[in-house]
Symmetry: C2
Subunit: 207 residues, 2 copies
Amino acid sequence: MNEKFFALPEEKQQKIINAGYRVFSQNSYKKSPVSEIAGEAGISKSLLFHYFHNKKELYLFLWDNCAKVTMQYLTEFRCYEQTDLFEMIYRGMQAKFRVMRIYPYMGNFAVRVFYERNPEVCMAVREIYEKYKDIKANRTLLNLDPKQFREGIDISMMYQDMYLASLGYLWEFCQRDDADVEKMDVEKMEQDFIKMIQFWKKIYQRE
Amino acid sequence: MNEKFFALPEEKQQKIINAGYRVFSQNSYKKSPVSEIAGEAGISKSLLFHYFHNKKELYLFLWDNCAKVTMQYLTEFRCYEQTDLFEMIYRGMQAKFRVMRIYPYMGNFAVRVFYERNPEVCMAVREIYEKYKDIKANRTLLNLDPKQFREGIDISMMYQDMYLASLGYLWEFCQRDDADVEKMDVEKMEQDFIKMIQFWKKIYQRE
DNA sequence: ATGGATATAAACCGATATGGTCAACGAAGG
DNA sequence: CCTTCGTTGACCATATCGGTTTATATCCAT
């Protein structure tokens, strides 16, 4: 790719990136028109092809960026250093919310890329994914102290409950009306989720 | 639409319907090729246009069918007649699983249709939706007896927890590899979810 | 066998969309 | 005025798609 892209003002870069995430998250690779991305980013198609020599390059750049950013925030919020399970979940969601604020469509994009089967990009996608995978390996559940929780609680079920609910929570907000995604009230989401965690603490945690 | 479609052997009808759900669930209305649906259903495009006069008609038929089938199973499993919350949730999921067995892509299709903004179909979609809505209105949460649950439990939070986890659960299985959706082990899903419910019962229900 | 209805598919068509290129334009700066 | 650089509109070859038309195959009644 053309390094001049990075010389662009941050704001313009993000506008292009977000346009890419939006279009690629709503269409398959093949059916995502570069022209639509350009138009949405407020630049001409030719200029976009100036920064990224072809569609594939743009796509893979976005995917790499996606993995990079995710890692970055996950470590920035020190998610996996936590010894308290509730705190870990909380920080994980915080990181997620933070990303959503900047790149509203990145989550959906990631899902689509992950299951993209187009042979033109499939392999390259996997390679990039592997590149970041090793870091992810650290994320094994830390040695939880069972004494933190109420007696008789099935810890793995408890974890599954919280994990799935978090998933459902994110999903419910991500599947929103296209037009509304930008206006997504992340603030409120965060508040609501905090309540959820407090609820869990109350029922799962030993007093 | 051509009524001869219904004269087809059940199996062939379903193959066409499922092909439609698959394609329309993975692409927007406009970018879903009728030819792909036909090919996947094992018939020629011309024949598909023989049963459904045009793309829009096919799309709306699938949407109507989607609503109809959902209703059907929800009532068949007597989901909303339950007075026990856990039983209600269980039956709701059972209905959902049953549908997934027959139409693996219907859930994803429904989401896409719901947020489809193409003016060619948007209005008609809404109308069909309204047609079924009144029945759905019954689904208000029944008067739960708070004495069923442990003391001090925030019932609305508890409900949210279970609702979101169910959502997350379904989502995790729906976003699978295209090729694998057919092989989806609904049996196992059901078993796993039962465990989840038993877990909730144990922590939420008064002994 | 013949004629006609019926089911199904192949070939076809016009319109449109798409990835990518290229010449040109405009502004900035020397 | 000349050059450079960021940017664009026009362009092109190709592919796709919705829908139609024509052809083939099957079956059934006469």
